[in-house]
Assembly symmetry: C2
Homo-oligomer: 344 residues x 2
């Protein structure tokens, strides 16, 4: 065994070729499992690679090939626990297919979204999955249409030419609202995020749809949108419960906002279930283990991650598929003790 100090400089195909006594092209063919290589030669080259401790330079491969085997994921804020589940599953699927995941957060700003698309393009990223702060934003739409690589939208719906993976938020919100209405509630307050984006928009749609069956209109004073942080949820809840005519039920439809809402109720000494019914827009340990447990909408974010990665991989392969497929994951309502018949 040769124990030369080969640590200092990196080994290249040329070195492997010399060691094995073949041409560089042959080394490359071995590297890529090209069929037209004699077993004997393949063996010799592989031995040479092992002896020298050779490792391909993916950068060089990328440049020549024009593709990077990178897939980017840009979401508005990945410290949302359930989003992490999405990313985790997507990463597994992508890595198994030989891709590496690039991660960035958009902080829900159109200019950052556009910047990131540029950065991904310059990196020759092979595919992108992302959320959008505003699906109708002109510049963002232009940046998307100029993207040379396939882009898949996460939980966004309005750009028909792109692949999309979504949850059925409309149905979830409809179920939740219906559930409360069935319990006699008529003054249901709703907290949603930014209605420029699909999830909040469709939750609002579902909410209104459920209401429309009752014949009465929801009180606009009870609707709070742009609830984007825990503090927003705290303030919105506090302000709602301070109204002269407060709501009898609270639908915290924005993701991961339940904590802020419950904090406000506790501060005001309002009992969940008794004083007010509460339904959460997404499930969590908190919802399940609260006293009383909180009724919540649930959907499979892990499955969304897997689907997103799979669809994007298909698109990157250039399979003959129709443009702009949309996949919707179902939502369901988990009924727990926080939502109760309206006491009279």
């Amino acid at each position: 065994m040769s124990s030369q100090p080969l640590r200092s400089q990196t080994v290249k195909v040329k070195d492997v070729a010399r060691e094995a006594g073949v041409a560089v092209g042959t080394v490359s063919r071995v590297l890529n499992g090209h069929p037209t290589v004699t077993p004997a030669l393949r063996e010799r080259v592989e031995r040479a690679m092992a002896d020298l401790g050779y490792e391909v330079d993916v950068t060089a491969q990328s440049m020549r090939a024009g593709r990077s085997r990178l897939v980017a994921c840009a979401i508005r804020d990945f410290d949302i626990p359930r989003f992490a589940l999405f990313i985790k599953e997507a990463e597994v699927v992508l890595r198994e297919a030989g891709y590496t995941l690039l991660l960035a957060s958009t902080t829900n700003r159109p200019d950052v979204e556009i910047d990131l698309l540029g950065a991904f393009r310059r990196r020759r990223v092979d595919g992108v999955m992302m959320t959008l702060s505003d699906e109708r934003h002109r510049d963002v739409r232009e940046a998307l249409s100029e993207a040379p690589m396939p882009v898949l939208l996460i939980d966004r719906d309005s750009i028909a030419s792109l692949d999309r993976v979504m949850a059925d938020h409309r149905e979830g919100a409809r179920l939740a609202t219906n559930h409360l209405i069935g319990f006699g509630h008529r003054r249901i307050a709703m907290l949603v995020g930014d209605t420029k984006a699909f999830p909040s928009r469709s939750r609002l749609d579902g909410f209104r749809e459920a209401y429309s069956a009752t014949g009465i209109a929801p009180d606009p004073k009870l609707l709070r949108d742009n609830v984007l942080s825990s503090e927003d949820a705290y303030r919105a809840t506090a302000s709602l419960m301070s109204l002269a005519n407060p709501p009898t039920a609270l639908f915290v439809a924005a993701m991961d906002m339940l904590g802020g809402c419950l904090r406000a109720l506790r501060t005001m000494s309002i009992a969940v279930g008794d004083g007010i019914s509460v339904v959460a827009g997404s499930d969590s340990d908190l919802a399940e283990l609260h006293t009383p447990p909180i009724t919540a909408i649930e959907w499979d974010l892990a499955a969304m991650g897997r689907h997103a990665a799979t669809m994007l991989l298909e698109r990157m392969r250039g399979d003959e598929i129709e443009r702009g497929r949309g996949l919707t994951v179902p939502t369901q309502l988990i009924i727990r003790g926080s939502s109760r018949p309206l006491a009279n």
Copy 2:
């Protein structure tokens, strides 16, 4: 459909050079803000770039430069909500410095860790921050020592030659245990993760340190390690509370395991606070909003993320810094209603 290779349509330095009537080298110098370019020429080149819609190919830059402006982050499982905070903050710092974040999960397996290090090397990643499943694993240590780029350990301590960012888990666990002992508890059960890694190991140290002051030894039957999932926590809790002589207090020291523990207690109708005191190893909405609220150990993961990114950037710049700096973020105990004096 004209399937012209996309490449032929993209604008290259050569095209910009022709348009501006200069040499390619000049375009490159403009691109990189090299000082020795006449303002007039710079202007002409910049106009040409704008006119043609030129965008650098980062892949080509990377190959030539031998560095990719990529930083990889590999952690055992990023659907741990508080870890997401770490990543988020690190990503911001890195992006501001011109780096892009690569993300992968190790699933806490040494072989995956080694594979990922290889993948990062082949991508000419400029820096790595990661967790390790087992700091003493021979092959992992070898892979680390062979890594040509700086590696920073996240919440791991035993490799002195590498930079590290950690939380003071030992002190946190000591505080928590002390707190319970002060309340008269002598039979304290502890749930920890994998003690081959720093966090659980030092929590155990802190636990024992607090106990040693009492003169009595902790009952080994009350120690459960390798609690890595919510289900593990559920089973461990159920089994502990079924002992002939069950614990009077429960220290759920593993991260994000509180849910499983509380679920078990609820199933067995054991009241938190009354039936048993509970302390959580990490804070969360669940701990804060539970009834009663759960005493918890807290530390600043966002700061850890910022520090990790900053230290890695310094190291990548090749600043003259001593090898293997360790930075420890303090932990504190937030005392709430779930931990109470031992009833007699």
